[in-house]
Symmetry: D2
Subunit: 324 residues, 4 copies
C-alpha cells in the first residue's frame, strides 16, 4: 500500500526551504510515497491545513527564498491537547511519516509528539544562526552569509569614500557564527561576538595608529547578542578613535535571497537522507552534516547538548595586537 509522508517548516524561515520542498515532492514520488504539505508549521498540523502536493506545486520555486508553505512558531503545540488534535489530523489523512525543517526548539516539540503518538519523523536542521549541536551545517547559513557579504561589500564602498566607521550588526543572539565568518571573509577590522570576551580599550591604540598610517575607514561586524548595543560601539569609534561612525542593522535582509548553490545542494541531500531514514524505519532522528558526512543522530543528543562555535574559527579572530 502507498504510504503518505508530510513536511512542515517551523520557526524562522531560511533560504533553502523551497529547494527542500521541491526535492521532497520529487523524491517522495520516486519512492512511491504520497507527499503532503503542512502549511504554517505546527499551527497547520493543529488546524488541519494539510494538502497533497504535486510536481506543479514545486515548479519554479528552487530559486526563491523563504518557504512556499509558510513557517510559524506555535505555542499551542506545547500543549498536549493540541498535539492530540494534530495526531488526529495526520491519522485522518493516513500520514505516517513527518519531516520537520526547523531549529532545536522545533525539534523539542517534535520529540514530545513522538513520545506520545509514536509518529515516525526526521528533523532537518534549518536556521541561519548555525547554532544546532551535532551538525556542522544548518540549512540557510550559506545564503545568509552571502547576503551579509553583499551588504558589507556595498557599505565598504561608501565607508572608504567618506572616512567613516561602520558598525554592522548581524543576526545571532547567542551564536557569533555569522558575524565571525563575515568578519573573516569581508576583511573587516573588528569582530565582536557573544562567545568571546572583548575589551575595546585594547583596540584603541592600534586603530589610532592605523589612522595615522593612512587608514580611511573601519568596518566592525558585531553579532546582535553581544553585551553592548551596536550604537555604543559606534559611539566608541567617535569618542575614542575620533572617526564619524554609523550603525547598520542588517535585520531580515539576512533571511531572504535566492538560495545559493550550497543551500540548494544541502537541501537536496538533507531531504534525500531524511526520506531514506524514514523508509529505513529510523523513527526518530535528526539528519546531521558532520566531518564524516551525513549522519543520523538521536534527537536527544541534538537538543540537549549546548552548541559550541568552531574553535578553529574563534582562533582566527584578529587579536588587538595581531599586526604589530
Amino acid at each position: 500500500m502507498k504510504q503518505n509522508i508530510a513536511i512542515l517548516c517551523s520557526g524562522g524561515d531560511v533560504s533553502g526551504m523551497n529547494p527542500a520542498l521541491k526535492r521532497f515532492v520529487e523524491y517522495s514520488l520516486q519512492n512511491n510515497l504520497t507527499p503532503y504539505f503542512v502549511y504554517d508549521g505546527y499551527e497547520g498540523l493543529i488546524d488541519n491545513n494539510i494538502q497533497k502536493a504535486s510536481y506543479c506545486d514545486v515548479s519554479g520555486i528552487i530559486n526563491r527564498g523563504g518557504t512556499k508553505i509558510g513557517s510559524a512558531r506555535s505555542k499551542r503545540f506545547m500543549q498536549v491537547e493540541y498535539r492530540n488534535i494534530a495526531k488526529q489530523n495526520l491519522d485522518a489523512l493516513h500520514v505516517t511519516m513527518l519531516i520537520v525543517l526547523g531549529g532545536d526548539g522545533s525539534f523539542r516539540g517534535l520529540h514530545q509528539f513522538y513520545k506520545e503518538h509514536n509518529i515516525k519523523f526526521c528533523g532537518v536542521p534549518s536556521t541561519i544562526d548555525n547554532d544546532i549541536s551535532g551538525t556542522d551545517y544548518c540549512l540557510g547559513v550559506d545564503t545568509a552569509l552571502n547576503m551579509i557579504k553583499f551588504s558589507i561589500d556595498s557599505i565598504r564602498d561608501t565607508a572608504s569614500s567618506f572616512k567613516r566607521a561602520f558598525v554592522i550588526e548581524t543576526m545571532g543572539n547567542k551564536c557569533g557564527y555569522l558575524a565571525l565568518v563575515s568578519h573573516l571573509t569581508s576583511g573587516s577590522e573588528l569582530c565582536l561576538i557573544p562567545e568571546t570576551a572583548y575589551n575595546l580599550n585594547e583596540y584603541e591604540q592600534k586603530f589610532k595608529q592605523e589612522i595615522q598610517n593612512g587608514r580611511r575607514y573601519f568596518i566592525a561586524v558585531v553579532a546582535e547578542g553581544i553585551k553592548e548595543d551596536s550604537k555604543e560601539i559606534a559611539r566608541w569609534f567617535e569618542e575614542k578613535i575620533g572617526i564619524e561612525s554609523r550603525v547598520n542593522v542588517l535585520g531580515h535582509l539576512q533571511r531572504g535571497g535566492n538560495p545559493t548553490v550550497k543551500d540548494r545542494l544541502m537541501a537536496y541531500k538533507f531531504i534525500t537522507y531524511a526520506i531514506d531514514a524514514l523508509l529505513d524505519n529510523k523513527n526518530e532522528t535528526i539528519v546531521c552534516y558532520t566531518k564524516e558526512g551525513f549522519r543520523y543522530k538521536e534527537i536527544n543528543a541534538v537538543v540537549n547538548t549546548p552548541y559550541q562555535l568552531d574553535e578553529e574559527l574563534i582562533k582566527f579572530i584578529n587579536s588587538p595586537k595581531a599586526t604589530e
Copy 2:
C-alpha cells in the same frame, strides 16, 4: 598651450562617481586637457591634495561604488580665507577649470568661490535623494533604487513566509523620491513620504479586510523624513492591524553597490557635457537632465529653487480606498 582641468566629489558619495572619473580622464585627454584629481572634496582643495590623473588611475573602477578620490563635507570652505588658499593651490598647478560632483549644498560653496575668484566651473548633480531643482535626474539615483529593490525583494521572501509586516525605511530626509518609486516598483502596500500628509486610520479598515481575505504580510516603504519614527509605524501594525511587525532601516546600503548601466551612462554623458561646457567658455553652469535632454542652467536657478517631487508620481500613491 595645454590647459589643466580638475574634478572633485563633494557631500555624500553616490554610485556612479567612479564611472564619471573614468570618463573625465579619458575625455579630458581626448580634448588635449590635462586632468587632475582633487581628493576628499573641498578639503583636498584647501590641503593641496591634488594629483595629476592618468588612464591607469581609472582602470578597473567603472564597476565600483563610491568614489576613488574620496568625498567630504567641508566647513572650512565656508570661510573666505580657506577659499583663498584653495585658489592659490589651483593656481600653482595652473588649473583653470573645475568640475564638481555634488548636491546643492556643494554648489552653493562653488558659487561663492566663483564670485570671488572667477574660476570656471561646471557642476554635476549627484545625490541619491534626487532632490536637486532643475534636473530630473541626479547621478546615483538609479543604483540606489536598485539596491533598495534588492533589499525589499529579499525581505518579502521572509515576510510572506512568516505572516509579518515590515516597515522599510529608505533615505530621503526632505524628499520622498526613493521611497515613492520603491513603493511603486516593489508592490508594497503602504508608502509614507514627507511631501504628502497621511492618516494611518484611513488604512486600518482596508488592511484588516485584506487580512480577512487571506493577505499574509504587509510591506510599508517609508522615507526617513516622515513625521513619525519608523518604529511607531511598526507599532501601529501590531496594535491596530494585529500583525507582528519589524523595522528595517536600509541605511548606507543604499549608497553603495556596482553602478547600474543607467548611472554609468549618465555619468558618461554628464561629464561629456560638463567638459564641453568648459571648453565652450560657459563659466558657471550646472549640467541638468531635463525632458528636453541635457541643458546648462545657471547655478542660481538651481540652488535657489526648492525641489518639487514629480506630480505624476505622487498621483500614483495608493490611496487608502484604491482597491475597494
Copy 3:
C-alpha cells in the same frame, strides 16, 4: 455595465512583462474593468486559452523575469480565418479591449485585426533590442543592459588576469543599441554594430601600441547582426594584434533576470497609460515614451517607419584615433 479587458504578450519575452501584468490586474480592477489573461500570445487568442485574472495571479511576480502568461510567435494569426476565430473567442467572453506587449511584428498583426474586427487595442513596445520606431524606450531594455553589464564585469575579471581579448556578442540583429550602450558603460575597447561601417585595420596600430604601453586585455562588444561572425573578430585579435582571444555569445541570458527598477516603473506607467487610452476611447494606439513624456501614436506611424539609432550615442563610439 462592467467591461472586460484582456492582455497578451507576443514575440520574444522581456523582463518587465510580469510587473506589467501585475499593474494590469490592479489598475483594471481599480477602474472597474474585469481583467483577462490570454496565454501564449495570439496562439492563446485562437485556441481560447483566456482566463479571468485576479490579485492572486499577480502576487509575487513583480521580481520575476519572463512572463507568467507565456509569449509566442503565431503564424496562424497571419491568416484571416484564425483572426476570425480569435474574435469569436473574445466576443464570447465579452472582451472589448486588448493590450498587447510586443514588438513591431506583433503590432502589425494587431493592426490587421483591428481593421477587420474593430477591436479596441493598445500596444506597449516590448523588446530588448530597443528598435521600435516612435518610442525612445521599449520595455525590457534596461534589464537586458544590466544583464550584459553583469556578464562583461565578470568576464573582465578573467580577461585582465590572463592577458586575453574577449569578443562579447550581444543580441541585436539589425540594431546595435544594446552593444553600443554596453560598450560605453563597460569601458570596452571596441564596439561593432550593424549601423556603422568599420574597418578593423584602423584599430590595428592603436591596439598594438596599447599592448606595448602595458595593456593586458581587450574587450570587444559586438552586436550579433554585424557583417562578420564573432569568431572572425576573435581571429583578428589573435592574428593581427597577437593576443589570445575568446568569444562569448551571451544569448538568452540577456532576456532573463529580475526586472530592474526602471523596467518595473516603465511597466507600471506603460500599462497605466494603455488602460487610460482604452477608457478614453482611443481605439488603436501605441503608447510611446518620448522626450516629451508618454505619447499615444498611431500604429501606422510606429510600424511603417524604420528605426533610427540615437545619433548622439553613435557619435560616442570610440574612433580608432580617439586617444592618440
Copy 4:
C-alpha cells in the same frame, strides 16, 4: 633573520585568488615573513617580475574576481634552463618559500623545480573544474557554481515563457562536476557529463510524455567534454522531442564574479595552512581539503592519481525512468 616568501598564480584564474593574496600578505606579516608577489605565473619567475607586497597592495581586492597578480601558462618553465633562471631570481631576492595557486599541471612543474633546486613550496588547489585528486574542494568552484546558477535562473525565465529547450554548456573538459552539481541545484531536466555513458533515446519517451502532461520547457546542463557537441543535443530536442531549442555556452562568465563567502573562507584557510606548513618545514606539500579537514599531501600523491568524481553525486543524476 626575516625570511622572504613569494606567491604566484598559475593556469586558469579562479575567483578566490584575490582573497588568497590578501590573506597571504596579512598572515606573512603576522608571522614576520616578508611577502612577495610573482606576476603572471611562472613567466614572472623567469622574467624576474617579482615585487615586495604590502597591505596597500591587497586593500579593496577581497571582493574582486580574477587575480591581481595575473596568471599564465608557461611553456618555458617546462625547460630546465628557464627553471634555473627562475631559481636565480628567487635567490637574488632571498626568497626561500613559494606558494603556488594552480591546478595539477602547475603542480607538476613545481615538483620538477623542487627536485632540481630544493625550494620549499606549498601548492593550493585552484581550478573551477574541481578535478584535482586528493582534495574534495578546489578554490574557485563555489563561485563558478553560483555564476552558473545565476545564468540558468535567468535562462529559465525565458525558457518557461516561450516553450523552448535550452542546452547550457558548462566548463569541464574531463570532469563533469560543475555540470552535475548545477543540474541538481537548478532542477534541470537532463545532465550529460563525460564520466557517465548516456543514450538520448532513453529520454525520448519520458520527455514526450512530459510535454503531453503540460511541460513547457526543458533545461539540459552538459559539460563541454561530452562526446557530442552541444548543438547536436539541441538538434535532438528539435527533431526527436519536437521543441524549439537553443544552445548557451556559458564560457568565461564562469571564471569571474565577486568571490562567494565559501571561496573567501577557503582562500583564508588554504593560505593559512600553506604558510603554517612552510614555517613548519614541510617542504613539498599540497594543502588538501578532505572529509577529515585540511591535510597536507605529498605532491606525488596528488598529481599522479586520476581524479574521481564523487560517487554519491553521480548516483543522484536523474535516470531516464526516474519519475515513471
